[in-house]
Structures are given as C-alpha cells and as structure tokens.
C-alpha cells in the first residue's frame, strides 16, 4: 500500500494569505493519520489538495512513486483518476439518487457488473448500519445516517487511500464510538492509508497511529498520539492537545509567585543552564496530598471541585495563579480548604515557544 508524501506544499486562495504554508508531511504506508487543529487551520484544504480538488500554489504531492501534483514539474493527475475515497465535511450526497444508487455510483463508474455492484453496495451499507434505509433518498435521512451513507459510498469502491473530513462529527456519542471502532477495523482489514481530519482531539488520540497538529496552515508536530501527548513540541501543541488544557506559566525576567516557585524547582534539578520562558503543567500531573521526596510542591487553596463521574476536576489557587488539577480518585475537599499540591512532571518551553529538549533528558519532563 502507498504512502502519501507532501513536500513544500503551499496553497493560497488568492490575495496574500496562505491557507497552507510550506507543508512537509509524509503519511506512512498503512497509517491512520489524524489531521488535528483548530477551525480554519487548513485541514480541509490539505485534504482537498491530496484528493486533487484543489491545486497547490507550490510543492509536490505523491502517492508511492506516482506524482499526483507537482507545480515545479508541471504534473497533475485529475481527481477522477486518483482512485481515492473522500468523505466530505458536509457529506455531499446526491439528492436525486437513492441511498443505494449513491453507494453504487462509484462502482458504476468502474463498470462493475450489476449483481456484483448490488452486493458490494449492500455490504458497505451493512457495515455502517444503514442498509434498512437503502431505498430512501438522502433528504429522508437524519444527519447521522447521511454521514454514514457518505462513508459507505466511499468504502464501496474499496480505495487504497481514504480521506475523511470530520466523518463522525454528526453522530451521537454511542454511534460515534461504534463508528470509530468500525473505522479502525476497516483500517486493519484493508490496510488502506487513511487521512482523517478532526478537531476532536479525543478522536485523534484514540484512533490514530500518527497525529499531525496544524495551526494557521503550518504543521506544528507530527508524532504518534501518546508521544505527542507526553512531549508536545511547542506551546501551541501543548495547549491544544489535552483536556482540560495544560496550564502554562509564564516566567518573566524576575519570576515571582508560582513562576518563582517553579523556577527554583527547575534550577534545583538542572542548574542555571536551562532558561525557560514558560513552564507547563498538565492537570492530571498536578497531584493533591503529601508530596514524595524531591518534587515540586506548594500550598493550594481549593476554589471549586467539579466531579464528572469518573474524574474530579479541582480548581486551585496556588500562590498568585489559578491551576486545575484532574484526579481519578475522589476528592473530598471543601472550597476554601488548603491542601498541598505537587508534581514531578513539568514541560519547559523556550522563548521561541519550542520545547526545551535538554530538560527532558533530566528525566523530569514526561
């Protein structure tokens, strides 16, 4: 199966603004890659360029050694010849065709004989559980059903590259869980290369083999999900991935309060060579209770406890700063109570916003 390479891809819709800037991205063979990022960061644009619906302003896109787009070499393969599958953000079902005809369309274009076509369409629809609505028209389906028909339409042609633009955004929690599992199964069975756009980070972390975080048309980090979570490459990724988000404490020129307290801890560990501009603490790394030896600890006033079934979020005031702690054991503290909070995992970022790798080698970063 193919790997997809984007090198030096830029896209401008005219005017000076770039929707995608100088993107280098390799989707490894058989990967399940999630493109993650805030709204408007260029995810859909990237996907559409891979599909051939949008043409890059510069750069090269290739699948395996087949060059699909190359502005520099003047090469272009039109979408209908790329043989990819794409699920649109807004489904784009054909309103004048029944569900069955929608799913059969791609097979018809490939001149698959009628009986086989029927069988394949039915199979695809069964996979997404809308085979009961086979003879209805898209307008007679719910949003979630339409989304699944769009999935089935793509799956029916059995493409080796699947591009999905937020294909689960309209499903209820249960169906979404089920469809995630289904997609993962499809991925394992077909060995297809999947590029999956989402701005739901949980989705990205649970499903992907690789996650690419984008912001303002630029790739921020490309890594397996757990690594991305454990070692965010820069402040943007650190704040974007994780919920509740990582707290970032700015270290001024003369740090006082919480910043000062954290700086003393950092210096006690690594000496003066490391000069971070900001320190990040993930809520679940912030523990409550008596601290073990040689960690950072500080007194904290409980401001609110927000239970959520299996986890407890606690809003704390630590010196001059508000922090959130996430606990998976019950927290029975009242507002105003003073506790000790501690952590041995902090993330350091330099003045350029980048992670400071030297700190990780001290073994205190994640």
């Amino acid at each position: 199966m193919p790997n997809i390479t984007l090198s030096g891809i830029a896209k401008s819709y005219g005017g000076g603004d770039y929707a995608v800037k100088n993107l280098d991205l390799t989707v490894p063979d058989g990967a399940f890659m999630c493109l993650l990022g805030p709204s408007g960061c260029g995810k859909t644009t990237t996907l559409r360029m891979i599909a051939g619906l949008e043409q890059p302003t510069g750069g090269t896109i290739a699948v395996g050694d087949r060059v699909l787009d190359s502005v520099e070499q003047g090469l272009y393969v039109p979408p209908e010849k790329r043989g990819m599958g794409l699920v649109f953000q807004n489904y784009a079902l054909w309103p004048h065709l029944s569900v069955r005809e929608n799913v059969e369309f791609g097979l018809r274009m490939r001149k698959v004989p009628a009986p086989e076509r029927r069988a394949k369409a039915e199979l695809a629809l069964q996979m997404v559980h809308v085979d009961a609505a086979m003879d209805r028209y898209p307008s007679q389906l719910s949003g979630g059903q339409q989304q699944r028909v769009a999935l089935a339409r793509m799956l029916a042609i059995n493409p080796t590259v699947l591009l999905l633009d937020e294909p689960l955004s309209n499903l209820d929690a249960r169906l979404r869980l089920e469809m995630r599992a289904e997609l993962k199964r499809i991925h394992e069975e077909s060995k297809a290369t999947i590029v999956f756009v989402t701005h739901d980070q949980l989705e990205a972390l649970t499903m992907a083999t690789d996650v690419a975080v984008m912001n303002e048309g630029e790739l921020q980090q490309l890594a397996p999900p757990m690594e991305m979570y454990a070692r965010p490459a820069n402040r943007f990724v650190a704040e974007f991935v994780g919920s509740p988000p990582m707290a970032i404490v700015e270290i001024g020129s003369t740090p006082t309060g919480l910043a000062g307290s954290l700086m003393r801890f950092v210096e006690s560990r690594a000496g003066q060579d490391i000069a971070p501009a900001a320190v990040g603490i993930r809520p679940e790394a912030l523990r409550l209770g008596s601290p073990p030896h040689s960690v950072w600890s500080e007194e904290a006033t409980v401001e609110a406890v927000l239970p959520a079934g299996s986890s407890w979020t606690v809003r704390l005031r630590v010196l001059d700063t508000e922090l959130y702690a996430l606990s998976y054991t019950p927290v029975e503290a009242a507002a105003g109570e003073v506790l000790t909070c501690w952590t041995d995992q902090v993330h350091l970022f330099g003045a350029d916003g980048m992670r400071i790798p030297a700190w990780d080698r001290t073994g205190v970063g994640a």
Partner: protein, 608 residues
C-alpha cells in the same frame, strides 16, 4: 517525534512553471473551455450587437451618400444631425420622445395609484377575499400587453382607421379621436397591464415592514395619518422608486400598444419610431434611435440600483410575522372589496369578454349578429388576406407551430445557457471569467428588447466574415430571444448552482466520473427543477413577446403575436382579437399551472 521549525511562506515557484502546471490542470477540466466558449458567445451575441448599432449610427450607410456628401462607410455625424437637429428631427425624435415621456409618466402614475392602492388593500387591511384578490389582480400581467389595446379598439374605435369600427361607433355614438387613439387610451391600457407589477413589488415591501416600527410611533403619540406619512411611506420608497423605474423602462420598450393605438392617429413613440425607421430601411436613423433607447434604458436601471443601494442602508426587514396584524376597515370592508372587484372586472373581465364577444359578432358586441364564422368559417366573404375563420386554413396553426418551435427552442437554449453560466461561475476556477459572465449575461436586462433587436439586426443583417446574413432566419429570432431572456435564466442558474455548491460534483469526480458523466448523471438531473422553470418562464414571456419579434420576423415566419398584429394592419378586427385571445389563453394557463406546480411566484419571473 518530528518537529518542524516554523515555516516561512515559501517563495512561489517561477511563473513559467506555474503556468505549465496550470495548463496541465485546465486540460483536465472542461469548465475552463466551457467558460471560454460562453465568454466568446456572450461577447458575440450581447456585446457585439451593441457595438454594431453604435457604429452604424456613426457610419454613412449606402444610399445616403448623396444627401450627406460623404462616401458610404465613412464616419459621419449626419445621422445625429438628422435625428436631433434637422427639419424632420421633430418628427423623427423630439415628438416621439415627448410622447414617450408623457406615456411613461401617465402610465406610471396610473399603475402606481392602482397598484399601490390594491397592494395596500390586499396586504394591510382585512378586506374580504384578500387571498383571492391578491391572485386575481395579478392576472392582467399574464396577458399580452396589447390585449388591452385591442379590446379598447373593439369598444372605442372610430372610422378613422381601416376596418371594423368599435362598439360605440356602431351604436351611432361617434368617439372622438383623443378617446379612440393616442395618449389617453395608451396610458389607460398600459396602466391596466402594468399595475400588477406595482402591486407585487409594493405588496412585498409592505409585507416586510416591521409592525413594531409603526407601533412605536403610535405609542409616541403619532396619529395614524402621521404614521403613514412619516413612517410607512419613507420605508416604502425603495420599492416605490423601483416600481416606478421598472415601469418606465418597460413602457420605453413596449411596442404593441402604441402601435395599435398610436399609429392610426400618427401618434409616435420612440419604439414605434424605431420600428418605422427600420421598416423604411433608414438604418442610420434607426441606429441612432436604438442607441438613444439603450442609453435611456441603461440609465434607468443604473439609477434604480443606485437608489436601492442608498435605501438599503435603512431598510428594516420585519422580524416575526411582521405584518400579521391588519388594519380594520370596519364599515368600509365591503365597499373596499367592491372596489377590488371593480378593478378586476375592468382590468381582466371587460377586456377579455370584449375580445371574446367581438369575435362572435359581426357588428361589434351586438349579440343579435352572433356568428361563429370568425372562428370556424370555411370562407369569410370580403376578407382577402385571411379569408376564413382562424381555426381554418393553415395560418394560425403554422404561426402556433412557429411560436412553439421558436420560443420553445429559445427558452431551452436560454435555460441551459443560464445553468451553464451558473456552473462556470460557481466552479470559480477563473474569477475574471466568472465576473464577465455574470455581468454580460445580465446586460440585456438593461436594454429594452426592441432596441436590442435593432442592435442585433445591425450586426446580423449583413454577412460579416464567415457568418452569413441572418436577417429573416428563424435562427436569428431564436438567438435574440434567448439572449434577451438570459438575464433571468442566468440569475436563476447562478442561484441554483450556488445553492447546490461544488461538493456533489466533486464527490462524483472522486468516485471516478468523467466531466461528461458528471454533467449527465449529477448536475443536470439535480437541477431538473431549476431547468424546467428556467424553460417555462422565458417560454411564457416569449410567447407574448412582440417588440423583439416584430423587428426580426419576415412574412415567411409568422408567430402568433406577429400574426395578430398583421391582422390588425389588415383591419380584420375579429380575427386579430381571436388570435390574441388564443395567446392570452395559453400564456395564462401556463403561468397558472407553473405557479401551481412549482410554487414559484410570478414575482420572481417578472421578466414578461
């Protein structure tokens, strides 16, 4: 972990490389070629005629070289002089201009009062039968505009013009010329045709005014009359001014009524003057007149859009059911209803019944001379050009077939072209092409049909380059008709394609469908509904069309409309009326059915 340093915006690849890539992309995307073809076609069919007519106005035509003392083909101000300053310029231009103005102002006032009053009645009051009145009062707009003038002649015609005299004259009451022909009857009959136009525009605006605006004024202590004067009328101004300008524009280009009611008394307006110049083969003068009409038409629409833009600043569109509350007429409810019925009777029943009865009586409207001869007789004594009932002989059927064929084909072309324009605009691969198509396809809207037909004649009457002379061919007729209706179809085509968006086509593309397959299996089937309305609306208005076809048909290709005008020329009143009734019947039925079936409102197809 792959960490990338912050990317710089890359330097774009060199121009030449980008061009090569772009061409490669375009080769796979027929939209570009399609856009180019449309651009060329529109430039040729819309822009070129206007240039041709302009150049004809300033170039000496064959046959005028002796008078002008210049060589044919030379640049000349001769025609300008002739039209604006010579001894006959009064006859050629100033008098028709004045008459046109009188009629435009008169018709507009008439339509404004009648239409505005009726709009207020059906939208703002609790007059009984509101719904019915609202529908019934629009009917006059579904009839060909000169239906009313024929009915008028059947009632008031005197012996001055050839043919049967009217009802009054037959009763021994001599109708004065000012009542039979000229400004008065033209204003009344045109007003009766155009008031529904005002009714629709003003009615829509009235319905959208937020009742809270009135309430707050009333709460602040303003009496009812002040509220209307200070609040309602100013808010209505955009709709009113728009209605005024559009009616003026229509009157400027209308041909049938001033022809039927004006010419017997030598009462000329710009449109009939233009027609006569063309008939007299004075191409130069005709070109100047056409240019003047084009300029006035363009000015009107420009002023309209400018005013609309100015007014939009304070347009308040009503929130929830703004106009649910209706003024209570109390004891005036039934009188008001009677007024509405009277307007309906006068503007629909009287003309239609007059025409109908006139076709079954030898002496106008005298039922004791009842006869079906004018419809069915094998032979009509005394008649030369058309010696039998309308249903006998081949003339009516041939004209009907021609109308059906020509108008049908024009509408089909128009609808498909409109959709394709929409397609290219929405695909948006080339913004400049899209902008050109948008604007040029809208251009004919600015130009009264009769002037546009004259312009087309300028271009196509003689062979130019590889294109042979097209004058008198049905082909030219179809083209011009399609082009004049293009503004409506391209607008609705753009709207329909906008609504659809690009994704359905792109989904098909991803699924492996070629461009042709996408068109055939996705785009056109989805747009079936838009396509049908895109055909039907131009068809209805084309069936009633006279001012364009009168310039372009020859005796070989009669349409229903030109047949009826021809019969008027002969003085065969009953036969002419019968033919017009047929047109009215067809166009009314089709409009009614279309509205019923597609739920489209007439207001959106105000092209007529």
């Amino acid at each position: 972990m792959a960490l990338l340093t912050k990317a710089e915006t890359p330097p774009p690849p060199p121009r030449r490389r980008r061009l090569v890539y772009r061409l490669r992309v375009l080769r796979h995307d027929p939209t570009a070629a399609l856009g180019l073809i449309l651009v060329i076609l529109l430039a040729y069919l819309v822009v070129a005629p206007l240039i041709a007519v302009l150049s004809d106005a300033f170039r000496l035509q064959y046959g005028d070289d002796v008078h002008a003392g210049q060589q044919p083909g030379e640049w000349t101000g001769y025609y300008l002089w002739r039209v604006f300053r010579s001894q006959i310029s009064g006859l050629l231009f100033w008098e028709p201009l004045l008459n046109t103005l009188v009629i435009a102002v008169g018709t507009t006032l008439f339509a404004l009062f009648l239409g505005g009053g009726m709009a207020w009645l059906v939208t703002r009051t609790n007059v009984p039968g509101r719904k019915w009145l609202a529908g019934a009062l629009v009917v006059p707009y579904m009839l060909p505009s000169w239906t009313f003038s024929l009915a008028w002649l059947s009632l008031f015609k005197n012996e001055r013009a050839a043919g049967q005299v009217g009802f009054l004259q037959a009763q021994g009451i001599r109708t004065p010329d000012w009542l039979a022909y000229g400004a008065v009857p033209i204003i009344i009959t045109l007003g009766l045709h155009y008031y529904p136009f005002v009714l629709l525009l003003v009615g829509n605006a009235l319905r959208r005014i937020d009742a809270q605006l009135e309430d707050s004024a009333r709460i602040l202590g303003a009496p009812q009359r002040t509220v209307i004067r200070r609040i309602v009328v100013p808010l209505m101004l955009p709709a009113l001014s728009s209605a005024v300008l559009l009616v003026v524009g229509r009157v400027l280009g209308t041909f049938g009524t001033p022809y039927v009611l004006g010419l017997p008394a030598d009462y000329r307006v710009l449109s009939t003057g233009l027609f006569q110049s063309i008939r007299d083969r004075s191409t130069g003068v005709a070109s100047v007149l056409a240019t003047v009409i084009v300029i006035i038409g363009v000015l009107i629409v420009l002023v309209d859009t400018r005013m609309m833009r100015e007014h939009r600043r304070f347009v308040t569109v009503g929130g929830k059911g703004a106009m649910d509350r209706l003024g209570d007429l109390r004891r005036w409810r039934w009188p008001a209803f009677a007024l509405g019925v009277v307007v309906f009777v006068v503007s629909v029943l009287v003309p239609v019944l007059t025409l109908l009865v006139s076709t079954v009586t030898r002496t106008p409207l005298d039922l004791s001379t009842f006869t079906l001869d004018y419809w069915f007789a094998e032979k009509l004594p005394g008649a030369v050009g058309f010696p039998h009932g309308v249903f006998r002989g081949s003339e009516l059927w041939e004209a009907a077939w021609n109308s059906l064929r020509i108008v049908g084909l024009a509408s089909l072309i128009c609808a498909v072209a409109g959709l394709l324009v929409g397609y290219v605009v929405v695909r948006g691969t080339a913004p400049r092409v899209a902008a050109f198509l948008r604007q040029v396809s809208f251009l004919p809207y600015l130009i009264p049909g009769i002037a546009f037909a004259a312009a087309s004649l300028s271009l196509f009457a003689v062979a130019r380059g590889p294109i042979p002379a097209l004058y008198g061919t049905t082909f030219l007729l179809i083209l011009v008709m399609a082009v004049t209706h293009l503004p409506y179809s391209s607008r609705s085509g753009i709207a329909a394609m906008m609504q659809l968006g690009r994704e359905p086509e792109e989904a098909a593309q991803i699924a492996g469908a070629s461009w042709w397959q996408r068109m055939r299996r996705i785009i056109f089937p989805i747009q079936k509904g838009a396509l049908v309305t895109g055909i039907v609306l131009p068809f209805i208005s084309g069936l009633k069309e006279l001012s364009i076809v009168i310039m372009l048909t020859t005796t070989g290709t009669q349409l229903l409309t030109t047949l009826s005008i021809g019969l008027v020329d002969y003085g065969y009143t009953q036969l002419a009326n019968a033919v017009v009734l047929m047109i009215a019947l067809v166009s009314f039925t089709m409009t009614y059915l279309t509205q019923r079936l597609t739920k489209s409102s007439l207001a959106s197809g105000l092209g007529g």
